[in-house]
C-alpha cells in the first residue's frame, strides 16, 4: 500500500507507526503506517465511519493509540508535553464549543495560548499572529461580536482563525468546510492552500467532498474500513476503480475543466444488472463526452 508509491523524501515530521486506534472495545484503525509529507497539503477522504476523523484525532493526540505510536520529529506524541505539541501542531476539531459569551477577537486570541507564559500573556508576536489570522480569514470586522451570535459560516472561519493564530508548522483540520456554503468552502480551501504555498505549512485535512479533496490535495489518502486503500498525488490515484472500492459508488472520472486534475462524476445511476458503467470507462480516459450519454442512459 504505502511502499509502492514514493512519498516525500526523508523522514516526515509527523508519522504513524503500526497505529491501532479503538474506542472502548471497537477497533477503528488497525496497524496503520503513515508518513505525512512535509510542506504539502494532505487530504484524507473516505466514506462515513471509515476512521478518517479518528486517525486525525490520533495525529493530533486527542485520541491515545491502543497500540503503535504517532511520531512527531521522531518522538512519540505521548512522550511530549501537550503544550510543546501545541506549539508545533495546530488542530481544529470537528465540533469545537466556544466558551459562552466569548467575543470573536478573544476567541481567536486564545489560539496564542500555547506560546504564552504565566507572566507573558500578550507579546508582540501574539499581536501580529492574531492580527494576521484575522486578516487572512476576514474576521477582523467580527472581532467585537459574540461568537454565539454568528452564522455557521462565520463561526467556522473564526475557528480557523484561531487555529491559524496558533502559528504552527503543522495544521490538522477535521472537516473544515462543514457548515459552509460553496463559496465559503472554496474560500477556506484556497486559504489553506495559500498557507501551505506561502508559509510552507504542512496541512492535513479530512474532507467529505472527494472532488474538493482531489482539487486541493498534493497528497491524497483514501481510507476505507480503517485502512489506507491508496495514497499519492490525486492525478495518480483517483480512478473509477478506487471510487468504487472506497465509496462503493459507480462513477466516471473526468478531467476537471478548471485544473485538469481528476474529477469524479457519480453515475451511471444504479442499473438493474448491478455492475455499473463505471467499470467500462477507464478512469479519466473516458473524457467528458461519454458522461452525458451515460447519464441519459441511466435516466
Amino acid at each position: 500500500m504505502t511502499g509502492n508509491r514514493p512519498t516525500a523524501p526523508g523522514p516526515s515530521r509527523l508519522a504513524a507507526r503500526r497505529l491501532t486506534l479503538a474506542y472502548e472495545d471497537r477497533t477503528v484503525v488497525e496497524e496503520l503506517d503513515l508518513d505525512v509529507p512535509d510542506g504539502k497539503v494532505t487530504v484524507i477522504v473516505g466514506p462515513n465511519a471509515c476512521g478518517k476523523s479518528t486517525l486525525l484525532r490520533a495525529l493530533g493526540r486527542l485520541l491515545k493509540p491502543r497500540r503503535g505510536a504517532v511520531l512527531l520529529d521522531g518522538t512519540e506524541l505521548a512522550r511530549l508535553p501537550t503544550k510543546r505539541i501545541a506549539q508545533v501542531i495546530g488542530l481544529l476539531p470537528q465540533t469545537p464549543v466556544p466558551p459562552e459569551g466569548i467575543t470573536v477577537g478573544d476567541l481567536i486570541a486564545r489560539g496564542r495560548q500555547p506560546h504564552q507564559k504565566w507572566w507573558q500573556q500578550w507579546s508582540e508576536t501574539d499581536e501580529t499572529s492574531v492580527s494576521e489570522a484575522m486578516q487572512r480569514t476576514g474576521t477582523a470586522d467580527l472581532a467585537e461580536r459574540p461568537v454565539d451570535e454568528l452564522s455557521g459560516g462565520q463561526r467556522q472561519r473564526v475557528w480557523i482563525a484561531m487555529a491559524l493564530a496558533q502559528d504552527t508548522d503543522l495544521l490538522l483540520l477535521d472537516e473544515p468546510t462543514t457548515y459552509l456554503d460553496i463559496a465559503h468552502q472554496v474560500e477556506v480551501l484556497d486559504l489553506v492552500r495559500q498557507l501551505n504555498r506561502e508559509r510552507g505549512r504542512t496541512v492535513v485535512a479530512v474532507l467529505h467532498d472527494l472532488n474538493q479533496a482531489a482539487r486541493y490535495a498534493d497528497h491524497l489518502i483514501a481510507m476505507c474500513a480503517g485502512r489506507i486503500v491508496a495514497q499519492g498525488a490525486p492525478g495518480d490515484i483517483v480512478t473509477a476503480e478506487l471510487v468504487q472500492e472506497v465509496f462503493g459508488l459507480a462513477s466516471v472520472v473526468v478531467p476537471d475543466p478548471v485544473t485538469g486534475g481528476p474529477m469524479v462524476v457519480p453515475g451511471p445511476l444504479r442499473s438493474p444488472d448491478g455492475t455499473s458503467a463505471g467499470d467500462d470507462v477507464p478512469g479519466g480516459a473516458g473524457g467528458g463526452a461519454t458522461v452525458p450519454a451515460a447519464r441519459d442512459a441511466a435516466w
Binding site: 486527542l62 505539541i85 459562552e100 466569548i102 486570541a109 495560548q113 499572529s129 492580527s131 486578516q135
Partner: protein, 384 residues
C-alpha cells in the same frame, strides 16, 4: 449545462482571486492596515519582561465592588447594639485612639473579618468549581464538600460533641473526606468534568439525606443547633476562626495565581482545549482541589454559609460579561454578600440574631434573578 456553468464560474473565481492583490482578499477586509489582534475588551499591562491581559470591564467591576465592600465594612462596624459614627470606626481601623475601641475593635471587627474571609473563600471556591465543572449549577454543595462537612458535624453534635473548638476540625475533615471519596470514584484514567459532578452530587445527596436523618434522631435542641450550623452562622466567631482561614488563603495565593491563568483554556470543549496545549486533567484537578480546600476551611469557620459559592460567581460573571468566571470579582462579591448578609442577620430582627446563611441567599438570589431577567440574549444553549 449547469455543470459547465458552475465550472466556468469557478474558473472566474479562480482568476479573480489570482488577479487580486495576490493575498487572500477576504470579506470585510478593509485594507486599512492590520486589525488589532489584542482580544476585545482586554487591556495589556506591561512590566519589564512580563505582560498581563486584564479584562477591562472586570477591572471596573472589581473597583466598584471594592468600594461597595469598603462601604459595607464600615457600615457593618457602625451598626449594632449602639451606633458608632463612621469617623470613629475609621479611627479604630487606623489604630488611632478612640472611645469606641472596645465595641468596634474587640466586639465587631473579629466577626466582620471572619465574615469577610469566609465570603472570599466561598466566592473563590464556587468560581473555581464552576469553571472546572463547566456547569453553573456546580458549587461546593454539589461535589460533596458541604454535605460531607454537614454530615460529620451534625453526627458529632447528635452524639454529644458540641465543643466549638473541636467541631471546626470535624467539619473540615468531613468535607475533605467526602471530596476525596468523590475524586476516587470519579477518576477513571482522567477526570471527566461531567462524571465528577454527577458522582459528586450523588454522594452529596446521600450525605444530605444522612444529615436529615440525624436531625430527626436528636432532640429538638440539638436539631436547632445543628440547623443553625447547617445554615452558616457568624455568631460568636472571631479571630480564632479567622486565623486558620487567613493562613490558608495566604498559602494558596500562588496556586490561585496559577488558577487564574489555567482557567482561561478550560472553558473550551475537551478537544479544543487539548489542541491548545492545555493539560486538562492537571487543570481540572488543580482547580477543583483548590475549590475543595477553600470551601472546607471556610465551612469549618462558619458552617456552610448557604449558596454564597453558588451565587457570587454567577453574579460576578454576569456583571463583568466576561467569557469566564472572574476570580477576583467572585471573591469580592462573595465577601460583599456575606458582610451585608451578616449585617441584616444581626440587625433585622434584633435583639434576635439569625444565622448569616439565612440572609446570604436572601440578598444574593433575588439579585441573580434580576440579572437573569435583564440579561442579553445568548443563543447558545450549552453549558456555562
Amino acid at each position: 449545462m449547469t455543470r459547465i456553468d458552475q465550472g466556468e464560474r469557478a474558473a472566474q473565481r479562480e482568476q479573480g482571486r489570482r488577479a487580486g492583490s495576490g493575498g487572500h482578499h477576504a470579506v470585510g477586509d478593509t485594507g486599512s492596515g492590520r486589525p488589532r489582534g489584542r482580544p476585545v475588551g482586554h487591556a495589556v499591562l506591561r512590566a519589564g519582561q512580563g505582560s498581563f491581559l486584564v479584562h477591562r470591564r472586570a477591572l471596573v467591576v472589581g473597583v466598584v465592588l471594592t468600594v461597595l465592600l469598603a462601604g459595607a465594612v464600615v457600615a457593618s462596624l457602625c451598626v449594632g447594639e449602639s451606633f458608632v459614627a463612621p469617623s470613629e470606626v475609621l479611627r479604630v481601623l487606623l489604630g488611632l485612639p478612640s472611645p469606641d475601641r472596645l465595641v468596634v475593635g474587640t466586639l465587631r471587627l473579629p466577626r466582620l473579618v471572619t465574615g469577610l474571609l469566609v465570603g472570599i473563600a466561598f466566592g473563590l471556591s464556587g468560581a473555581l468549581i464552576q469553571t472546572m465543572a463547566r456547569n453553573p449549577l456546580a458549587s461546593p454543595d454539589v461535589i460533596g464538600v458541604t454535605h460531607g462537612a454537614g454530615a460529620a458535624t451534625v453526627a458529632a453534635m447528635t452524639f454529644g460533641l458540641t465543643s466549638y473548638t473541636v467541631l471546626p476540625y470535624v467539619s473540615v475533615a468531613g468535607g475533605l473526606l467526602a471530596a476525596l471519596l468523590v475524586y476516587l470514584f470519579a477518576w477513571r484514567g482522567g477526570l471527566a468534568a461531567s462524571r465528577f459532578v454527577l458522582i459528586g452530587i450523588g454522594i452529596s445527596v446521600a450525605l444530605g439525606s444522612l444529615t436529615r436523618l440525624l436531625l430527626t434522631k436528636g432532640d429538638y435542641l440539638v436539631a436547632q443547633q445543628a440547623k443553625t450550623w447547617l445554615t452558616g452562622s457568624l455568631n460568636g466567631r472571631g479571630y480564632d476562626q479567622a486565623a486558620p482561614l487567613a493562613t490558608v488563603l495566604v498559602l494558596l495565593v500562588p496556586f490561585l495565581l496559577w488558577a487564574a491563568r489555567a482557567r482561561r483554556g478550560s472553558a473550551f470543549d475537551d478537544d479544543t482545549a487539548i489542541a491548545l496545549g492545555i493539560r486538562l486533567d492537571r487543570v481540572r484537578v488543580g482547580l477543583s482541589v483548590l475549590g475543595v480546600v477553600l470551601a472546607s476551611v471556610a465551612t469549618g469557620a462558619a458552617g456552610p454559609v448557604d449558596f454564597v459559592a453558588l451565587l457570587a460567581p454567577q453574579i460576578a460573571r454576569r456583571l463583568t460579561r466576561a467569557p469566564h468566571i472572574p476570580l477576583v470579582c467572585s471573591a469580592l462579591m462573595g465577601a460583599l454578600i456575606v458582610v451585608i448578609g451578616d449585617l441584616l442577620a444581626r440587625r433585622l430582627l434584633s435583639p434576635l440574631e439569625l444565622p448569616v446563611g439565612v440572609f446570604t441567599a436572601l440578598v444574593g438570589a433575588p439579585y441573580l434573578m434580576w440579572l437573569i431577567v435583564r440579561t442579553r440574549s445568548s443563543r447558545s444553549g450549552g453549558t456555562a
